[in-house]
């Protein structure tokens, strides 16, 4: 055993835990830890320009790799600046460990300089938080933090570290704890076999089934088991915004996304189904629309690792609590044993009906013209140029929905967006976290001119660490989604949804040392994107002027059933 200061214990622990990068920003209460970081070379620290971005970076890393992202900030404003990032990760069940400096324990409660009750402030938006009360606790508390963050339904864990806990002259025995003891926390490891059998039998007997897959399939690493299920039964599958890529977007059984901006075929199939199996999804209000009208003829099976998600918004018939991967494995074993087949005639007529719905809209939009580029078209060209294989992050708004609808994700962990909290400013730092650990992959942030300005300062971080990601700005010179709602619900009174004084984005990114390109004409679109992606070592920011009047369709009509939708500005289902 070695004798180490609290600060050195933290850096030793992170190295022993296998952490390669931490994202953060120094300040008074964290300086002992920053000094310890300086004196080691195993953990690389990335200095951001705003603490919120540090959390989104860690979050992007976690979403792409499944491992906890780690953040280090100081007390007070450093800590409170992380809150939006923490809440973003919490809502989407993303594992993070956020280490926050705190004023010395002797000053806590005295309104000291840069003191904030981070335990209290963060409590509603964390899976758990812990304060260090003695330096010797540091290894155990950090081990618990990583375990809690990454197990069960993952989530962010905050560790509050008073400055005196990291004092350089006080040393304690350090040993990396290989095990965690937590008597009050036992995440489910297997689903109930009787329930799984019942679900398997119901699936085989369904006539109009839909598989509804969510982010839990991606987080649970169960994409292969899902694909096997779809192939085995030949059932239609729709993915939530968080679940895109869990089943290939270009796969033959894919109905695309469901919900508020879901495809006609996905929402119609859900509404007309006789059996819905939800796998790692939580019947979010952006999926169900009016809960009293949700799937009126369907029996519902729900697989979820979090028992609190069962029957929270929609009452289900067969709940299965467990990790989706292990539940699906067990279900496949039961299918092998049952050896039955679904009713092929019923299935054929179900698919026929689905194909008719598909023909109704099919993701069509008015074509672009030389002077008016459609945002959907930009995403389709992006898909083509990147061969559908890029990591795509987004911010929040119309561009996010266009990216979700038109970039057909064929792999899990490639579509990275703030689905639950809807955090503008997420996309750029999330892309940075991914690019840092996936230097040979294409990483693109699809954004809007509102969102990008919420964390644009991070272009500076990109320069410092050489992160040659690509930014595609769908520039409609307005807060597009807000404007769309104002068009639809407020007689086009565009209250504060127009941004005057937009910067010259090309000059702006050039001043940060990157490459800026602008597209105004249709015939420049593909060639400019090709040119951008050919610059492997440069961050290229492509400002594409798109049709400012475009709306995202289909769009569910509020409080209706899933299949009550606007198909375009004048037609509805």
């Amino acid at each position: 055993m070695e004798l180490l200061s609290g600060a050195d214990m933290i850096t030793h622990f992170l190295a022993d835990e296998g952490v390669e990068h931490i994202y953060g920003y120094p300040g008074g209460a964290a300086l002992h830890i920053y000094d310890a970081l300086f004196r080691q070379d195993k953990v690389q620290h990335i200095l951001v320009r705003h603490e919120q971005a540090a959390v989104h970076m860690a979050d992007g890393y976690a979403r792409a790799t499944g491992k906890a992202g780690v953040v280090l900030v100081t007390s007070g404003p450093g800590a409170t600046n992380t809150i939006t990032g923490i809440a973003t990760a919490f809502t989407d069940s993303i594992p993070l460990v956020v280490l926050c400096g705190q004023v010395p324990s002797t000053l806590i409660g005295e309104d000291a300089f840069q003191e904030t009750d981070m335990m209290g402030v963060s409590r509603p938006v964390v899976k758990h938080n812990m304060a260090i009360r003695h330096p010797s606790e540091i290894p155990d508390v950090l081990k618990k933090a990583f375990y809690i963050a990454q197990s069960g339904r993952p989530g962010p864990v905050v560790v509050d570290i008073p400055k005196d806990m990291t004092a350089p002259n006080e040393r304690f025995e350090y040993e990396y704890p290989s095990k965690v003891k937590l008597r009050s926390y036992t995440p489910p490891m297997r689903g109930h076999s009787g329930q799984i059998r019942k679900a398997a039998e119901m699936l085989l007997n369904a006539k109009r089934p839909v598989i509804y897959a969510g982010g839990g399939v991606i987080i649970g690493g169960a994409s292969a088991q899902l694909i096997k299920l779809v192939d085995r039964l030949n059932y239609p599958v729709t993915c939530t915004l968080m679940g895109l890529g869990a089943y290939p977007g270009t796969g033959k059984n894919s109905l695309g996304m469901l919900g508020m901006h879901g495809s006609v075929e996905a929402n119609q199939a859900m509404h007309n189904a006789d059996l819905v199996i939800s796998i790692g999804a939580r019947f979010d209000d952006r999926v169900t629309n009016g809960t009293d009208k949700f799937c009126p003829g369907a029996r519902i099976i729900h697989i979820d690792i979090d028992p609190a998600n069962i029957s929270k918004t929609i009452k289900v018939d067969v709940p299965i609590v467990g990790p989706v991967g292990s539940v699906l494995n067990d279900m496949h074993a039961i299918f092998d044993e049952l050896a039955g087949q679904p009713d092929q005639d019923a299935l054929a007529s179900w698919w026929k009906e689905i194909d008719q719905w598909r023909a109704r809209h099919g993701g069509r939009y008015e074509p672009s013209t030389q002077d008016c580029i459609k945002p959907q078209h930009v995403v389709e060209v992006l898909h083509k140029v990147t061969k559908g294989d890029a990591f795509v992050t987004s911010d929040v708004g119309q561009h996010q929905m266009f990216a979700a609808q038109y970039y057909k994700f064929n792999k899990p962990n490639r579509w990275i967006n703030s689905g639950g909290l809807g955090t503008m400013g997420f996309g750029l730092p999330a892309a940075m976290g991914i690019k840092l650990t996936h230097p040979d992959e294409e990483v693109v942030c699809v954004t809007g001119e509102g969102s990008i300005q919420m964390n644009i300062q991070e272009l500076s971080t990109c320069k410092q660490y050489g992160l040659p990601l690509k930014v595609v700005l769908l520039n409609n010179e307005a807060l597009g989604m807000v404007k769309q709602w104002q068009d639809m619900n407020y007689e086009s009174r565009h209250s504060h949804s127009y941004m005057g004084s937009l910067p010259d984005f090309t000059k702006l990114v050039e001043s940060y040392g990157h490459v800026g390109l602008t597209v105004r004409k249709l015939d420049e679109l593909e060639s400019t994107l090709e040119k951008a992606f050919a610059m492997k070592d440069e961050l290229v920011f492509i400002n594409v002027y798109v049709d400012p009047a475009e709306h995202v369709y289909p769009m569910q009509i509020a409080r209706g059933s899933m299949n009550d939708m606007w198909l375009n500005k004048t037609e509805r289902t």
């Binding site: 509603p124 758990h128 938080n129 009050s184 979090d306 028992p307």
Partner: protein, 163 residues
């Protein structure tokens, strides 16, 4: 429907605020709350009385169970149980009131635990309805101060809530 939920909680700083925070965050109702350490100093026993539809109560118990520091919990109202609340009341007691108050206290099997020339301090224990009834039976204007502990509960029979 009114429910009594009993929780074994890690006896750690901040654990209680997590429970209370959960109720306000998710718009659940707390009617009363009691908490104290158990015979095992590492555990606290918390009793919360709440009300809501079956769906809300199911969410309350599930969300409580998700808190890392919640070790175990039981909805006592699902089975036979005993509930008790302690109340201390300061009552005006002068002249003929003194005898009358004393008789009422006896009927409710309470005790007078402190006396001055003009005031009795009375202790009554029982379920919440009994305490309400006691207050109602005291002449209006005589009640000077009331303090109630909130409900504590335990299951009847051999069922125990322990590790």
């Amino acid at each position: 429907m009114r429910r009594i939920i009993s929780v074994l909680l890690e006896n750690e700083p901040g654990a209680l605020s997590r429970v209370v925070g959960l109720f306000s965050q998710r718009n659940y109702n707390i009617e009363s709350l009691t908490v104290a350490p158990t015979e095992d100093a590492s555990l606290s026993r918390l009793t919360v009385t709440t009300s809501g539809s079956d769906k809300v109560i199911e969410q309350i118990t599930k969300q409580l169970n998700k808190l890392i520091e919640v070790v175990k919990l039981v909805d006592l109202t699902e089975g036979a149980h005993i509930e008790r609340e302690l109340m201390m009341v300061k009552l005006k007691a002068v002249g003929s009131q003194r005898g009358e108050v004393k008789r009422t206290v006896d009927i409710y099997r309470g005790q007078i635990v402190d006396v001055t020339n003009s005031v009795y301090t009375v202790q009554v224990a029982g379920n919440s309805d009994k305490l309400d009834a006691f207050i109602k039976s005291i002449a209006e204007g005589s009640v000077l101060e009331v303090v109630r502990s909130g409900v504590s509960g335990i299951a009847r029979g051999e069922k125990v809530l322990s590790l």
